[in-house]
Symmetry: C6
Subunit: 97 residues, 6 copies
């Protein structure tokens, strides 16, 4: 799994995420966006970890034809996004899913 | 084949599964979700094993464009889901399909 | 090519096959299902072998986006499905296509 | 490139080809079908070789999502189809495209 | 990148290109067709080289689902198409894009 | 990640980009186009870097079915596009995302 954090994401960056996300709710202007990319089965486990974290919103992002891959976007303040990403990495490393 | 079990899956996790499943019946709030990912031919055999197990419901989950891959989601109480996943692993290991 | 046989396929297994098959005729409840997965060119040759066998019905099954792969499903009584699968394996082994 | 010839193709085999071909003209019942599978650029060159051969009809066949792959189907009497396939193989071997 | 030139392309060859091209203008009957296949980023650079060449028309050709691949078709008289293809090869070799 | 710059892009090149871009705004005739191709997660980070650069416009470009790949196109005067591309390369090299 690849994990990245974008602080103060710009307008175009949010527009690309908005055009490709699964739900239809408009994004606001989050402080930070965490991104996680991997196999579908890993992404669903990562979603579950992230949504049990505090203070973040989660969206699945489609590539145009992302095979069995989706991208997970985690929105929130920088500390919460960082904490969620750290928890995902910790679980993956320890094989706790 | 990759196999995972999520206990007490959160709301977003179920929403992602709901948006991508083959049937149109709404999921309830299962105790656990078992996930199995592999080649289409393996998934169909795993479906057959899982549905002959007791106390679980089965759905095939699409990635946006999962080539010959689908993800199998097995819903039910934790013990039943675990038993179904164990049976799938046992069959695969013994080449019984 | 991968070949598998499912005896007395369950309801969900048949539902997944029904949702993904090329023709629009409803499947009944066959005794057995033979599955063959490989490259498109191989699948078309396997179709031709299977349909010259006795007592089986054939369907091509789509993954959501199976590149050049399709899955061939062969329905019928267990003996006929087994015979068709054996003939496909024999032809492939002997390079008779 | 993979090349195969099916003699006296059965009804299901022709039905699968019919469902996936590019043009809308119905196929008759040809004596033989030649199949060629490779990269898109090779298939277009093979099409050009085949249609300059005598006594054959050509169709491009889609897998459900065949990336940059299409399958070329060459219909006609057995001798003509064999001659067209041989010419395609000869050109590829000699790098004459 | 793969590059090929077809001289006096036949009717079926042009029909396959016509069915898959990006623009809606009907092709005439060009003397020659140059084909270039590579990654999307390379194809866009090759398009720019080709359209600055003299006497050729350019089309992007889709495979059914060509991932990040498109095929570039360059139409014109044999000398112009050959010159355009040579310029594309020269640029790629010299890393001039 | 692959990065390229096209100076004074031609009409066909812009037409191909126009047909495949995510937003619906018509492109003008930019002095230069910068292209960046990589994994979806990298592209979103590159978008954020590019849009914090001065004097450029950004579009995501779809291949027909680009899996988890998109192509980023950066439009503007030659100096601005070059600066944005350099910043993207620098960040990637230093692992600053």
């Amino acid at each position: 799994m690849d994990c990245r954090i974008i602080k103060s994401p710009g307008e175009n960056t949010l527009a690309i995420l908005n055009r490709r996300k699964g739900s239809k709710e408009e994004l606001g202007t989050p402080d930070a966006v965490g991104l996680v990319q991997g196999k579908l089965i890993e992404m669903i486990c990562a979603t579950d970890v992230a949504e049990k974290a505090v203070g973040v919103t989660i969206e699945d992002i489609r590539g145009s034809c992302p095979q069995n891959m989706i991208l997970l976007a985690i929105f929130g303040d920088t500390a919460s996004v960082t904490a969620a990403i750290e928890e995902i990495k910790r679980r993956e490393k320890n094989g706790q899913w």
